[in-house]
């Protein structure tokens, strides 16, 4: 089992080391992930119902009230 895990580690390690254009792509992916999760999600896209209410019952009540708010 240990040998297998070492083999898997080496497989990925050598794979990443031998990348050419892939390195540039990984940099783009990491910047993108940082932008998405550390900036967008954190500052601009909160889960409103999760943030504003503490239980599913409260969330349900709020949504039903919103859906039935007509004259």
């Amino acid at each position: 089992m240990r040998n297998f895990l070492i083999k898997v580690f080496r497989f990925y390690y050598n794979g990443f080391r031998s990348m050419t254009v892939g390195r540039k792509l990984w940099v783009i992916i990491l910047i993108k992930f940082f932008f998405m999760f550390a900036i967008l999600k954190l500052f601009f896209f909160p889960d409103l119902l999760k943030k504003n209410f503490s239980s599913d019952r409260e969330r349900s009540n709020y949504v039903i009230e919103s859906l039935t708010q007509i004259k």
Binding site: F11, Y12, N14, G15, F16, S18, M19, T20, V21, G22, K24, L25, W26, I28, I29, K32, F33, F35, M36, L40, K41, F44, F45, P46, D47, L48, L49, K50, D56, R59, S60, N61, V63, I64, E65, S66, L67, T68, Q69, I70, K71
Partner: protein, 520 residues
Amino acid sequence: MFQNFDISLVDWSRGQFALTALYHWLFVPLTLGLSVIVAIMETIYVKTGNKAWKKITKFWMTIFGINFAIGVATGIILEFEFGTNWSKYSWFVGDIFGAPLAIEGILAFFMESTFIAVMFFGWEKVSKKFHLASTWLTALGSNLSALWILIANAWMQNPTGMHFNPDTARNEMVNFFDVALSPTAINKFLHTVSQAYVLASLVVLAISAWFLLKNRDILFAKRSIVVGSVFGLIGILLTIYTGDGSAQQVFKTQPMKFASMEALYEGQDHAPLIAFGITGSLDENNPGKYSFPVRIEVPGMLSYLSSHDANTFVPGIKDLINGNKEHNILSLAEKEERGYVAIMTLKEMKEARDTDPGKYKELRAKFEDPQWIKDYFAYFGYGYYKGENPAKLLPNIVMTFYSFHLMVLLGFFFLLVLLLALIWGVKDRIAGKKWFLWVLVWTAPLAYVATELGWITAEVGRQPWVVQDLMPNVTAVSNISAITVQVTFWLFTLTFTILAIAEIKIMFKQIKLGPKDGGQ
């Protein structure tokens, strides 16, 4: 009714979702199609042992990798928007979306990401057959990812296999197979995936044509054209076949979208299909009625598309607004009245929950009564439009009409291009036809235009519904400031432009390097 809703917020939220969805979709079809093309090329390499095929496979695998890397996770932004901009919608559909998206996350994503590593790092390190299996499993994983999200989208177009729980205001899945295997979902998945195969084939053909025009890597280009055109031809035939199936589903479940796709105002038997048309002005007194200064029709074709019977009555926008007793079509006013009853029942039930158990029980029972659900709850969303101008229940007809017609026109153009590419490719005469090589180069961007037009037809055509007949966009949107949405809209526009430039630069650089030096 609409004084409770901020229409500018709805418009900005819709615009932002459209921007992110259309951007995300620039990457997905190439990933779906190219993954299969690469697997086919590698299969030929493993079968023949010919090293030239290995080189071809590795080049296209690199193009696949670039597209995958730039596009990966762009879809996550859509999920962020669900939670922030469309929180009421997310709550309303939560249980239905939960299952397919969870399966996508667990099965497809892990399958894809595991085997992608073997695909890129495994050359010479694992056996040829294991490597080939990984390439096919990557293709399968990519396509499965698309399946689950398309099932979720199909449910929004045709909500089936669910039951509305009035205590929680959530739709709960009653039958997974009704959701996953609804005719809308099957047609949507097959149509979307097959047109992705066409797009990927046309990209392969365009890049290969460029090599031929530059008079370099000739064998690579010719072989790629043959594989791409065979695959693309199968793809386009499947796209046309499933497009026909999709049209029948739209006719059954979204008649207003069907009428808007043809800008058909007055319903008729033996309805014609507009082969070519230019819309004129809107009749101010008749919502949805446009003049057609130019119009070339194919008699009976629209009826045939609706049900494979050229004599079928196709309701027009007018029939759907005013109703048509002869054809058993309810008017919008009647649907609004029924929807209003359903909304008020929900309101009274909630109010009675803590104060009047008897009344609560009586009203709650209605949401379990199949006949009441069919007669009233099925029109829930229409209730918000009671007394409003019927135009508010119409999609953007001009946009839907042109998107649909241009998409179909481009589809048949692709069929011709792929057919010629195959014939001249197999006869080894393609390199001498410079004009056709330029056509191939310029057809690839058109494939992107066509695929985006398909989504515009599907999504603009179903407005104002977020969930067909049940939830309009005005009630789905969160109570947030429109300015916040505007800020993120422009932030996305900037980010997406930078990412798109990065993709194009890296992609073009790699293409110029060609198959000999294509790395990973």
